[in-house]
Symmetry: C2
Subunit: 217 residues, 2 copies
């Protein structure tokens, strides 16, 4: 791939979807796909698929398409999921406990290796074989397992404080479920997943596609 050149933001948002779709085709027993077969279920045009993939290198075969096994390997390497990632989970409320049990993470190489909570009453509790640690143990455990990623599932008003501690202890990426925008220093990466925001976006779409039909314009 082009030595370190940075992929356009729009491309980055799609490669994981390509990977997911390819894995689905592989489970179905297919061995090759065309750019149309790959893009259609994702509502992405075939030209877009080819351009996105071409950014990273020449993986296709004219007249054939893409070899699924080959492309899965390439994309996994590009994304960085061709290896296991240990991570910590902070916050053991309803959402945190669900994320801990969520099988989708494990099957994709994400392993939660430690749990943390601010709430004194939750510390020491055992969840699926892991004991909830006080936030003070964060530095030791992060160093011990060389952990770079954290899932943040604490209440909104605690999120920034916890994020600061995560950053101070060496965490380089945070998947944030708290409904707030976090401030982190450069070099620390954030992905925010605000479930209410997603649901609101859905409501907006539903409204548009119904009632709000025509009227003027």
């Amino acid at each position: 791939m082009p030595g370190g050149k940075i992929a356009p933001k729009a491309v980055v948002g799609r490669v994981s979807l390509y990977l997911r779709q390819l894995e689905s085709y592989q489970r179905q027993g297919l061995t090759t796909v065309s750019s149309s077969q790959l893009g259609d279920p994702l509502s992405i045009k075939n030209a877009q698929v080819r351009k996105d993939l071409a950014f990273f290198g020449q993986f296709g075969h004219a007249g054939i398409g893409y070899r699924i096994g080959e492309l899965i390997g390439v994309l996994r390497h590009i994304i960085g999921v061709d290896r296991d990632w240990p991570l910590v989970l902070v916050g053991l409320g309803n959402l945190g406990r669900a994320l801990l049990k969520y099988r989708g993470f494990r099957t994709r190489g994400f392993h939660i290796v430690a749990l943390f909570d601010n709430d004194r009453s939750k510390i020491g509790a055992n969840h699926d074989g892991l004991v909830v640690e006080p936030i003070e143990s964060l530095g030791r455990i992060v160093a011990q397992h060389d952990i770079r990623l954290a899932i943040l599932a604490v209440p909104a008003d605690a999120a920034q404080g916890v994020a600061d501690q995560l950053v101070a202890r060496g965490i380089r990426g945070i998947l944030n479920f708290a409904p707030v925008s976090l401030l982190v220093p450069p070099g620390v990466n954030l992905v925010g997943v605000d479930l209410s925001v997603q649901l609101q976006n859905l409501v907006y779409k539903v409204q548009q596609s119904q009632g709000e039909v025509s009227c003027a314009g």
Copy 2:
């Protein structure tokens, strides 16, 4: 607002974030914000904020900024969350049960009024005062409560089948947590939340900001 004119896709993705930020400022006791104050925490430029809001109408006051209470009201109306939305939850695995208990939905006017599952052994169980119904009761309950929205938290391989049933029973918007791309007819709206995809996007960012530094280019 301009009679039914459709907002650019990019704008739609930001209005819920503006609303969330405004509510946060309101809790802090502020009564006005400038476009910079609103955009900065979200890493959105002030010109962008003004342009986004101006799309829907003139809500700002030169020299002052935006009145928070006023703008919250306007945005809630635009998004469609100035009223309550009943919704159904399908799938009572770990994630489904967590979403049911998630307080963030309730506080924003989203009320889960019925639960469904394919799994015979889960039907009849009581969760937080709601009884899990067989999927066959979907039509009756959707009609009864005039429900338009569904949260889909079933395994990947069941998702499309359930989505088809939801659509057939009149659901117009689906928040899909299953890690598959669903196919739905026009007029039905989808928002997909694939937690593993989000985590993979985070890994990609972390890799970029570290190891992959320079090399050529």
